[in-house]
């Protein structure tokens, strides 16, 4: 490591401001590479400073960058740089002026503050737009390093004046600087004049500027309704902008402006959605994920507007998992009788996916669709029957987990499903599946004749069972099934209670004791209590 640094230091020896730019650049890129990997290149600083006044712009930029990185630790050395930088702040090329100013203010050390302020003052009233933009940003940067500077308000006043500059980026930068500097006071105060000025210039700004200003405008509260509507009119164009970030920021602003006019919300959402759904099918997955996530937070409110656009939630093959999850999450809530079938067939496609998580979410989505629209019952039942026959181990376990939330007691064909499912329980290998099966048993024990015998199997295995959650569930299931088939279960229940009371795990033990005492005391009451327990489980 040290040898590598020595090597590079040696490379810098012969270089000067007159050396060929290619050689300089090569040496500097090596330095940057080392820095990125965490190696401290401070000892190379003297060598690099020789190149400060090099005429090649690229070399210059690289040197400035490196200087800024290490200056705070080496103030004496950097003093050498400051001289050159101050000179370059008056160079004829605006790019160099801007660059010099930027670097000057990045030298994070108190000895340079005075020079910085001088440079900034000069920059703020520069002829070139490029330099003014840089100067505005540098105000904020200097402030970040030296918080107590701004007790005198001259710079702040100047920045306020810059808000009236002709170039939109300068306006945004000044805005940003003022926000940062006045952050202790809650940032800049937007009065009507400033708000109007910003609104009029919004269309000339870059999309990032627009995002930022739309955010800031949330601070302004128009006094009259006329003013509000004027603002809304101007902002309308941005609600349907091409850039999704701008439309989202604009939506937020709209919603805050019409907080006193809630009846306008559906209209606003309608317009926003119409535009945003155009961006979704071709957008990058990360961006689409965010837009959908954002819409999800308003889901209940905008259901009506989203429903016609349900097709955007169909998953493409190449969608990453997190996006598929979100889509499967949101899609079922948009069911309407007219296209319930289509939505269901899309979801069914994913139920047999090879990914365990996707198949689980798809099945959950099916239950949501079913809850929204009970007329889909026959299709759902048919599909479930088909899925049960699947060879996939995780499909079965997922089905169990999902069946709990469907009220199969009231569906035609529900008992067939239960019987079919029960026959497959031996294929379950994972804990969640087993737990789910046990709670299915407790819920639908009345539909299954053999439930006591199935439980018997489990109970026989009880001493070998190490997972206390399963033991707990088994106990509860036994009690519930007891009320469905009292005669058959009595013996088994006794056996289970005995085993549980002697069990090492405290929660199992205490629950068993509780049941024993309840049953001992009053069987009828126990029945009522357990039925409430079951209801709560179902709602989960």
């Amino acid at each position: 490591m040290a040898s590598e640094l020595d090597n590079i230091a040696a490379q810098f020896e012969p270089l000067s401001v007159h050396t060929n730019p290619e050689i300089c650049r090569a040496a500097l890129s090596q330095v940057m590479r080392l820095h990125v990997n965490g190696i401290d290149c401070a000892r190379l600083l003297p060598g690099m400073l020789k190149l400060l006044a090099h005429p090649d712009l690229v070399t210059k930029k690289a040197v400035y960058h490196c200087t800024a990185m290490y200056a705070s630790k080496n103030p004496e050395l950097s003093l050498l740089a400051v001289n050159t930088l101050m000179q370059e702040c008056s160079d004829s090329n605006p790019l160099i002026r801007g660059l010099a100013l930027k670097t000057l203010t990045s030298l994070n050390h108190e000895t340079f503050v005075e020079y910085c302020l001088r440079g900034i003052n000069q920059g703020l009233s520069d002829k070139s737009v490029y330099v003014r933009r840089v100067a505005a940003r540098c105000c904020a940067r200097v402030y970040q390093q030296n918080v107590d500077l701004y007790n005198d308000g001259t710079l702040v006043n100047q920045l306020y004046n810059m808000l009236r500059d002709s170039d939109p980026i300068v306006v945004v930068n000044s805005m940003m600087a003022l926000e940062e500097i006045l952050s202790k006071e809650g940032g800049i105060v937007i009065n009507k004049n400033i708000a109007n000025h910003l609104l009029n210039n919004l269309k000339d700004m870059t999309p990032w500027g627009q995002c930022y200003i739309l955010n800031i405008l949330q601070k302004y509260k128009p006094k009259t309704q006329d003013d509000t509507f004027n603002m809304l009119n101007i902002l309308d164009a941005f609600l349907v902008s091409q850039n999704t970030a701008v439309t989202t920021a604009c939506l937020q602003l709209f919603l805050s402006l019409i907080s006193s006019l809630p009846h306008l919300r559906p209209q606003v959402f309608k317009r926003y959605i119409k535009n945003i759904v155009a961006a979704i099918p071709q957008g990058n997955p990360e961006l689409v994920f965010h837009i959908l996530d954002h819409l999800n937070s308003y889901r209940e409110e905008i259901k009506a507007e989203l429903q016609p656009h349900y097709s955007i939630f169909f998953c493409k093959e190449s969608d990453p998992l997190y996006l598929k999850k979100l889509k499967l999450n949101m899609l079922p809530h948009l069911t309407m009788p007219s296209h319930a079938k289509e939505i269901l067939s899309e979801i069914f496609l994913h139920t047999s996916s090879s990914s365990r998580e996707i198949s689980l979410w798809a099945l959950k989505a099916v239950t949501v669709v079913f809850k929204c629209d009970a007329s889909t019952a026959p299709i759902v039942i048919k599909k479930l029957k088909q899925l049960i026959d699947s060879e996939n181990p995780h499909t079965i376990s997922n089905i169990f987990r999902v069946v709990r939330s469907l009220n199969l007691n009231e569906i035609k064909g529900g008992s067939e499903i239960i019987a079919k499912i029960a026959s497959k329980h031996q294929k379950l290998t994972d804990t969640e599946g087993q737990l789910a099966f046990l709670s299915v048993l407790s819920q639908y024990g009345n539909l299954l004749e053999d439930s006591p015998y199935i439980i018997e199997e489990y109970v026989e295995n009880f001493p070998n069972e190490t997972n206390s959650v399963i033991k707990y569930q088994l106990l509860m299931t036994c009690v519930h099934v007891f009320f469905h088939h009292p005669a058959a279960m009595q013996g088994i229940l006794g056996q289970v209670l005995e085993l549980c009371i002697q069990d090492a795990d405290k929660s199992v033990q205490s629950q068993a004791l509780l049941y024993y005492r309840l049953l001992n005391h009053d069987v009828e009451h126990t029945k009522i209590i357990t039925s409430i327990e079951m209801q709560e489980l179902q709602e989960l």
């Binding site: 170039d167 091409q242 990360e286 699947s390």
Partner: protein, 426 residues
């Protein structure tokens, strides 16, 4: 390995890099959200092949904006040196730092317009500036007619218009279109003298409605006014900065002074009345557990006089395929085991034709109980027309100061429709 890192504000330290590496790149769960929160710091990332681009912040920012910015950054870098690969990044180290320097300062995105960035960040490096060049750059940076300089002269005034469309389709096994859209861009290469004003006419419903009332339109007098069939409905479009938007809003005409050379005039999208160039009809039959019979019919749906090129159909095969026998009359089909697909390539295909491929796929008997979910059949192709129905009606050039008229300009138009995500489920 960290390739490039740039810190804009002092609140993020070096350990952020390590945190990201451990928690996101080497995370064990499959589902990785593009946003991660670690210790009150948010990491937003996108991944392109094996390069990760991450933006880190401690403040509450607009997530959509961060991603749009990351995507724009990728776009800018691609316009300089092509695809984002490790090699390209290492070779253009200094350039990328320059770009990062310009587009983001102190954590706030500045100007990301590729055209403007290219004027003062060039790959060869800017040589010592003469006074004149300096003033040019400054005026370009301030955004007056900075996209075209005065005094351009050509002996032959020519312009080339490329209508490049990408058609995307998702079709159900029963042949129902689940979603379809066309994303198009018009790229213009202009070699015109002076500062010519150009007027661009297309067959968009909205534009034609207003033009139907105005006079002097050669095309509408030729083809008859707004007939519903020959016009298309554009959902939304975006223009290059040189297009005078005020004229677009009032007269619905696209009027501009073009930059010299190549530039993208407009971007648009349509979702209605798309003429899908190809229809894929799949038929899959599983014979027991050891064989699968697949028959795929591809029908081309455009004028017989046109030819589609580079047609490729990819039929996915299960992972436990042991061998494939393929028969096809047109083109060449090969089973590519490494890609788990049968790739059927047809060099040229005319319109209103039908091609068929049948394949017998032998499967290994596996104990693996997982059922194979069939991925959709995807297609790639290039057709010499615009699937959206987009048609250039005219492009008129007016240069009052110099002595050449619209008739003296040589104009070329070509339509290239390419496949984007063209998938048929089976």
């Amino acid at each position: 390995e960290v390739l490039i890192s740039r810190v804009y504000r002092d609140d993020i330290g070096r350990n952020a890099v390590d945190a990201f590496r451990v928690n996101v790149i080497h995370a064990r769960q499959q589902v990785r959200s593009p946003v991660t929160n670690i210790a009150r710091t948010s990491f937003f990332h996108i991944k392109r092949s094996n390069i990760w681009l991450a933006a880190v912040t401690k403040q509450n920012v607009n997530a959509a904006m961060v991603f749009e910015f990351l995507l724009k950054m990728v776009e800018v870098m691609q316009s300089y040196f092509g695809k984002i690969t490790e090699e390209n990044v290492k070779n253009n180290f200094v350039l990328i730092y320059e770009i990062l320097d310009e587009i983001l300062d102190f954590g706030y995105p500045q100007n990301t317009d590729t055209g403007i960035l290219k004027t003062f960040i060039t790959q060869q490096g800017v040589k010592s500036q003469s006074k004149e060049e300096t003033s040019q750059i400054t005026s370009q940076v301030t955004g007056q007619i900075g996209w075209r300089r005065e005094g351009i002269k050509y002996r032959r005034n020519e312009l080339f218009l490329d209508v490049l469309e990408s058609v995307n389709l998702l079709m159900s096994p029963q042949g129902q279109v689940l979603s379809a859209h066309v994303a198009g861009r018009i790229v213009m290469k202009s070699y015109l003298s002076g500062m010519p004003e150009c007027k661009f006419g297309i067959n968009d419903k909205v534009l034609m409605d207003t033009r139907g009332r105005s006079n002097m339109d050669e095309s509408s007098s030729r083809t008859g006014a707004t007939s519903g069939k020959s016009s298309i409905a554009i959902d939304d479009c975006q223009f290059h900065q040189c297009v005078k938007l005020s004229k677009f809003e009032t007269e619905h005409s696209i009027s501009f002074i073009p930059p010299d050379g190549e530039f993208e005039l407009m971007k648009y999208r349509t979702t209605k009345d798309i003429s899908l160039p190809f229809r894929v009809i799949p038929l899959v039959r599983e014979v027991g557990r050891s064989k699968m019979e697949v028959k795929v019919v591809v029908k081309s749906n455009f004028k017989p006089s046109l030819l589609a090129q580079k047609v490729e159909v990819r039929i996915p095969t299960p992972l436990n395929t042991s061998g494939v026998q393929v028969i096809c009359m047109k083109g060449r089909a090969k089973y590519k085991a490494s890609e788990n697909a049968i790739v059927w390539k047809i060099k040229r295909m005319g319109g209103m034709k039908e091609c068929q491929l049948s394949a017998e796929i032998e499967l290994l008997n596996t104990s693996d109980k997982k059922k194979w979910t069939r991925p959709p059949i995807s297609m790639n192709f290039e057709v010499p027309f615009a699937p959206s129905g987009f048609k250039v009606r005219y492009l008129k050039v007016f240069e009052p100061k110099l002595n050449y008229s619209d008739h003296d300009v040589i104009k070329w138009v070509r339509y290239i429709g390419r496949s984007g995500h063209y998938e048929t489920r089976c």
